[in-house]
């Protein structure tokens, strides 16, 4: 660990910065909310509690973006996938690498100077049980503390000034198949974290720890009896019906005790509405892969849940994909905006689901207002029944035991995975990185032959229509279902988006091309080839009055299909590499932070 030798806080302190030094954490939440409204900084992983990934900064514009150039860069010291983003608080940048989860505080005053570096001691088996590369999605900040999840399930509270550990607590146990990849969210006096590992039949949950001490305040499971779900059978609303969920609504959707390995993990992005005092997050696939092994709706896997962050009590729940047979995790971000619904201004939540539908819900009640396909090739369901909230299935595309079902769209990676979309309050559109990939699927079954366990599994993914477009970056209106413009890419667009008041949207491609796009026309105005493919999310901030844009490059994760050695032919072996077969022609592994500025 390095001791800081430069002054930490910006001398020309903003009011908010001064406030940070004041005692009393009760106000931490309001401060964080206020801090996030200062677009000179980037203090919440998704930019603000609403998950907009928007900044009002407007120095960089369509006219001058051609002059954007690298200001400084640094290695993250880790080769694996970087799905996160830096934070900027005052004159310091904080970010976390993929496993082994180095956390850095970097000076903006002396760009790239490492003020401190934290390297957690980890359970050496954690990487072995992580399903989809040992990625990380970033740190959280509140009240002078950096909160960082390590893969082995420990949540660390680090003093933002020197990186010293204020407390640590284990919220996930790799021995049970549980790992931790998501970015925490601090709300009021609690730090909220989820869990990864549905491949292991992990019984998914969300944990709230006291921000000052680490003590567990509540834990709410995704499947099981009401008391474990923190559901009130008479008060928690089923968004699909508008009525209370009733007693043991999850238990009755499973056969026997299967809910105990029910999955419903919680590894995505979280948002929060301070006015309603509700936390929003999604749950992942149900446990055990083979749907024929788990009859029922498997509640509340594949659902959006709204909870009181202080008590964990659920206000409402909405299940997108009952009885999942495709691995369409419901963990994607829930972006909070106002929407014009039939001429009325409604407080909504917009969720681009893996299943290919863009759900717009009334975020007060979970009521379904709209669910339009955001990729025309989606064929597992014809549409979402607005009366029941349920998908109207295409029976030919339901996966079955021992049967290879061909041409299912989207693939298990979804029309969009965790790569977060951005919202622009000026155009009122969403800017969405998507996957344009379909699959042939044979469901899973865990078996044993004398002395050796194994699984039967085959998934073959390929660009839709066996074409050469694997990803599309779209400007989308979820209420009308209209795509305003789209940029086709060879591979899945697995990096997040950033919108700015300057009229630009930034994102990176799997091949490592970092782009600035005219938010109105969709024209790529500027690009830069990063050292490695991009699956991270851009941010923007100012230092000494000048606007900067930062991105983590470092390909990996489930996105980097085919990057493995010599996997160049879609037909090779079991043939599951078609989607990104030639990615290795374009990029290589390796984490780098890149910061850009105008002259």
């Amino acid at each position: 660990m390095f001791k800081p030798s430069v002054r930490f806080w910006r001398p020309a302190a903003r009011v908010a910065c001064l406030a940070l030094l004041l005692p009393g954490i009760a106000a931490a939440n309001e401060q964080l909310d206020k801090l996030s409204q200062d677009h000179n900084q980037w203090v919440i992983p998704a930019g603000n509690y609403a998950g907009h990934r928007y900044s009002g900064l407007n120095q960089i514009t369509p006219d001058n973006v051609k002059n954007l150039h690298v200001a400084w860069t640094m290695s993250t010291g880790s080769l694996r996938g970087h799905e996160g983003q830096p934070l900027v608080v005052g004159d310091t940048m904080f970010f976390e690498s993929s496993f082994p989860n180095y956390v850095y505080a970097v000076s903006l005053k002396e760009p790239g100077r490492i003020l401190w570096k934290f390297a957690p001691q980890q359970d050496k088996f954690a990487p072995s049980v992580a399903c989809c590369d040992v990625v990380n999605r970033g740190v959280a900040y509140s009240n002078g503390v950096i909160y960082a999840n390590a893969l082995d399930g420990f949540l660390y509270a680090l003093d933002a000034k020197d990186g010293s550990v204020k407390w640590k607590v284990q919220n996930a146990d790799p021995k049970l198949g549980q790992t931790q990849t998501m970015a925490p969210l601090v709300i009021k006096n609690v730090v909220i974290t989820g869990v990864s590992g549905a491949e292991y039949g992990v019984h998914g949950y969300v944990t709230a720890n006291d921000a000052a001490t680490g003590k567990q305040v509540w834990r709410a499971f995704s499947t099981g009896p009401d008391d474990q779900l923190l559901f009130d059978p008479n008060k928690t609303i089923d968004g699909a019906t508008g009525k209370p969920v009733g007693k043991d609504s999850s238990l009755s959707s499973w056969e026997g005790e299967q809910w105990k390995l029910g999955g419903g993990t919680t590894w995505g992005w979280y948002t929060y509405d301070p006015k309603l005092n509700l936390l929003y997050y999604g749950t992942g696939n149900p446990g055990t892969w083979n749907p024929t092994q788990r009859p029922g709706d498997n509640k509340y896997s594949m659902s959006i849940i709204a909870r009181n962050p202080e008590t964990g009590k659920a206000a409402w729940v909405f299940q997108m994909t009952p009885h999942d047979g495709w691995d369409y995790d419901g963990v994607n971000e829930n972006i909070l905006t106002d929407s014009n619904i039939d001429g009325k201004n409604v407080a909504t939540l917009t969720h681009f689901d893996r299943n290919g539908f863009a759900y717009v819900l009334d975020r007060r009640t979970g009521k379904l207002l709209s669910a339009k396909k955001f990729d025309a090739v989606v064929n597992w369901a014809d549409h979402i029944d607005m009366a029941t909230g349920k998908p109207v299935l295409n029976p030919a595309m339901m996966t079955k035991e021992g049967e290879n079902v061909k041409g299912i769209c989207p693939s298990s990676q979804g029309s969009k995975d965790q790569q977060p979309a951005a919202y622009d309050p000026n155009t009122k559109l969403f800017y969405v990185p998507t996957n344009h990939v379909c699959m042939d699927y044979q469901a899973f079954n865990v078996k044993y032959k004398a002395g050796f366990p194994y699984v039967g599994a085959l998934v073959n993914m390929y660009p839709a229509n066996h074409g050469d477009v694997g990803g599309r970056f779209i400007a989308f209106d979820p209420v009308s279902g209209q795509t305003k413009w789209a940029i086709d890419d060879r591979f899945q667009d697995w990096g997040g988006a950033l919108t700015t008041g300057g009229g630009l949207v930034f994102y990176g491609t799997l091949t490592g091309e970092f782009r600035a796009v005219d938010i109105k026309s969709g024209k790529v105005l500027w690009k830069f080839k990063a050292p490695s493919g991009i699956i991270g999310n851009p941010i923007t901030y100012t230092y000494q009055g000048k606007q900067y844009v930062a991105i983590l490059s470092g390909v990996g994760g489930w996105a980097a299909i085919g990057l493995a050695e010599n996997l160049t032919k879609a037909t090779e072996g079991l043939g599951a590499v078609g989607a990104t077969a030639s990615l290795s022609d374009y990029t290589n592994l390796g984490g780098t932070l890149l910061v850009f500025a105008l002259d």
């Binding site: 496993f99 590369d133 002395g451």
Partner: protein, 277 residues
Amino acid sequence: MSKLYISTATCLLIALAGALPAHAAGTLKVCADPDYLPYSNRAGQGFENAVAETVAKAMGAKLEYVWADMRGHGGFPEYLSRNLDSGKCDVVMSMPYGNDEELTTDPYYVSSYVFVFKKDKGYNIENMNSPDLRKLKLGFEGDTPVEAGLQLRGLVTSAKSFDISESSGQSPRSTLDAVQNGQIDVMITWQPAIGAFMHDYPELTTVALPNTRATGSPEMYSFPMSMAVRKGDDALRNKLNNVIKQQKSALTGVLHQHGVQLFGDGDSASASQMANL
């Protein structure tokens, strides 16, 4: 082939379901192989013997073995149908968690497939994509996730398949001998199959295979392992779950003594040591 076995098992199960004997009070009837170390043998030297003893003791039950060759005619599926499904015995000690052919208990350990190679060779092998694997003579247990992983990478035709699980009387030691005598450079096999023998091969080392989705579909190389009872025998399953809960450290201890490597074993490594994992 395996489909045929399963349907045989299911038919037998249906035929006998009405006439199954209740468990004899105070007796735990364990199906076990009389000659398949490190899992079990008649002399009680295997880790499954030790686990069975621990469980029976905790239940206050008399341990009774029903011996049968797991690798005989019809393989493991027929073994299950002739012994467990037919009611001759009531529990098998190893079954991956979540298997739907029998009723599994909660998992009592998680272990992994491993690369086994000579320490002094200095290979850089971390996962199935490690370039060194392409240059080396590989061995693997057939019909496992390892075979699928090798096939996917175009490595299977040049590798040697060891079919321990289908070769009655063959010891998993033979896979270690093959590494020891240089017949193959890297053996890829289930750690519990070879853990008990590793102390006889001090020149060899193991590296666990990480699970991955690097090629699209999930590749699973580590498995939570359970005991299994007949479908419908929830009473015994619940008793076993209680034992697994209460005897957690005893069971872990027994597995360790028999060289089974579990997830969470050992002290945490420093981040710098792990950077290459």
